[in-house]
């Protein structure tokens, strides 16, 4: 983990209610796709956690959905402004488990961290399938960006307005070596129940600190209580317990 100041390089709408934020600064604490950052916002006591969509030298990219006062405030921020950010939080996805034909499953805003994962997997020569699920056509983002990496991309929409009608579990390809999933908990549960083979699932949680101190975000697991922020947010399928 590192604490640092970042300058907003870009903060622009990407889809309905969805923005892309690019932050210039020291990105050296990021060690794995699936990690997250925790951003201090003026006037808000707790930081806001966001998964990383991309990390390059000197630049972090995250994609966020406006869901409340904090993210509304973020959406109005202009480039050039500085933000206090904790980086390199969480364990991230384990690329060594991928096999040759990994499957990436994203639900809504949970699709964001799969981009950096797909980039790393493609760089490692893997054949990557991606299924991205959204509520409706207006919320779809990054379909072309995943294709540009050379991934096989399927988009599903719950209202059937674009791509395959239904949820990500309605677009599951067969013959994949391992899956990685990120999205809301009902989607993760459906993936856990229906996707073949083993996988890693990345969870959301209401966090206090984001670095393990407050134990506010703990989940029960096969191996005992685990903090989503520090021991996760990525958990191995076999260790997950549902409540």
């Amino acid at each position: 983990m590192k604490k640092g100041l970042f300058t907003i390089a870009e903060n622009a709408p990407l889809a309905e209610g969805v923005y892309r934020l690019r932050l210039a600064g020291d990105a050296s604490a990021v060690t794995a796709p699936g990690q997250f950052v925790n951003i201090a916002l003026p006037g808000r006591y707790l930081r806001r956690p966001f998964s990383l969509c991309d990390a390059e030298e000197g630049m972090l990219t995250l994609i966020y959905k406006v869901v409340g006062g904090g993210t509304e405030q973020m959406a109005a921020m202009e480039p050039g402004r500085t933000l206090d950010v904790l980086t390199g939080l969480g364990n991230g996805f384990d690329l060594s488990l991928a096999g040759q034909t990994p499957l990436l499953l994203g639900g809504g805003i949970g699709s964001a961290p799969l981009y950096l994962l797909a980039k790393k997997l493609r760089a490692a020569g893997k054949t990557v399938s991606v299924v991205l699920g959204f509520n409706r056509r207006s919320e779809v983002f990054y379909e072309q960006e995943f294709r540009a990496l050379g991934c096989q991309v399927t988009v599903t929409t719950a209202d059937g307005s674009y791509g395959v009608p239904g949820f990500v579990t309605d677009g599951l390809p067969t013959g994949c070596s391992f899956y990685y999933a990120c999205g809301p908990e009902p989607m993760l549960r459906a993936v856990y129940d229906r996707a073949a083979g083993s996988g890693q699932l990345s969870f959301e949680a209401r966090m206090g600190c984001g670095f393990g101190a407050c134990v506010g975000c703990t989940r029960q697991t096969v191996g005992g209580p685990k903090r989503v922020c520090k021991d996760g947010p990525v958990f191995q399928k076999e260790e997950i317990l549902w409540t």
Partner: protein, 303 residues
């Protein structure tokens, strides 16, 4: 310039102490900075048996602070002794404050006796004020007789200084403080969090699964300061002041109100370096206000 204070007979290099529940068992913060710079720290509230705590969600936010309803998640005293304390010993070379909670008088005595026997433990901070558990915690800290019973039982089986951590969720904190002193407490920590709640407008239901949680952060600082001030006038044992402390200036205010040492809690959660930075800022702020020796200002705001 002298930052040192003495808490129940043990010297602290400075009065700054991360509060229980905001610093784990310490060693994870040692990845971020050298925690030997702290006066000491109070480790995560520990109970006789392991506890998962309350269901999710257990964190909420408000203007100037936060609510938690963690519910004393901890691995239990046996695991703390066999796993957490040995890990801490590698990165912290001072006496640590052991924070203990329980669900019966016997629980408190059992857990305190176990931790009292650990060489690393310098003080026992008896939490009779957790607002987030049922049938324990705060129920002992809201009645003078029950608070005294816990302190008496703990004192009977321990040798190290015992501090009673008091709840602000009472009509008269002074009467609880007096009862703890009379029962043999060597010091008092005040205050724990204030019982509070939020409602989610989207679901129209309480945001926390536990319905209520404990409010902490800058919002509670003036309440904590007032209680430290009032209790200082009524007792002769040292007071550890806490509640929303976030800066070196807050430390000085707490000490002027009557605190011998000061804990910072929620501040650690929004900035992992908070306590290190408060300690680093203290000499400059002392100089600004003409303070040479921190011990000289304890209770300085009183008549």
């Amino acid at each position: 310039m002298d930052l040192s204070v003495s808490l129940c007979g043990t010297e602290l290099a400075n009065p700054v102490i991360p509060a229980s529940g905001t610093f784990g068992y310490g060693y994870e913060f040692a990845e971020y900075y050298d925690i030997d710079c702290l006066g000491t720290f109070s480790f995560k509230g520990t109970t006789r048996e392991p506890r998962f705590g309350n269901p999710q969600p257990r964190i909420a936010e408000c203007a100037g602070g936060m609510l938690n309803a963690v519910g004393l998640q901890n691995p239990g005293v046996e695991a703390v002794i066999s796993q957490e304390l040995p890990r801490l010993a590698k990165c912290f070379h001072k006496p640590v404050m052991a924070n203990v909670s329980g669900f019966s008088v016997e629980d408190y005595a059992y857990t305190c006796a176990k931790l009292d026997a650990q060489a690393q433990v310098g003080w026992l901070e008896v939490n009779i004020s957790c607002p987030n558990v049922h049938g324990g915690g705060m129920s002992f800290g809201t009645d003078p007789a029950a608070a005294a019973a816990v302190i008496r039982a703990v004192k009977a089986v321990t040798t190290k200084p015992v501090l009673a951590k008091l709840s602000p969720n009472v009509t008269d904190i002074v009467s609880i403080a007096r009862a703890c002193q009379d029962a043999g407490a060597d010091g008092l920590s005040l205050i724990n969090t204030l019982q509070a709640m939020r409602i989610d407008l989207k679901t129209r239901k309480p945001l926390l699964a536990n319905v209520t949680g404990g409010l902490s952060g800058p919002a509670v600082f003036p309440v904590a300061l007032r209680m430290v001030y009032q209790v200082y006038e009524a007792v002769s044992i040292p007071i550890v002041g806490l509640g929303g402390v976030s800066s070196a200036e807050d430390v000085l205010e707490m000490m002027l109100a009557g605190a011998t040492a000061v804990q910072a809690g929620a501040a650690n959660l929004i900035d992992p370096y908070a306590c290190r930075d408060i300690i680093a800022a203290l000499p400059g702020v002392m100089e600004k206000y003409g303070i040479q020796n921190l011990r000289d200002i304890i209770g300085g705001a009183h008549g």
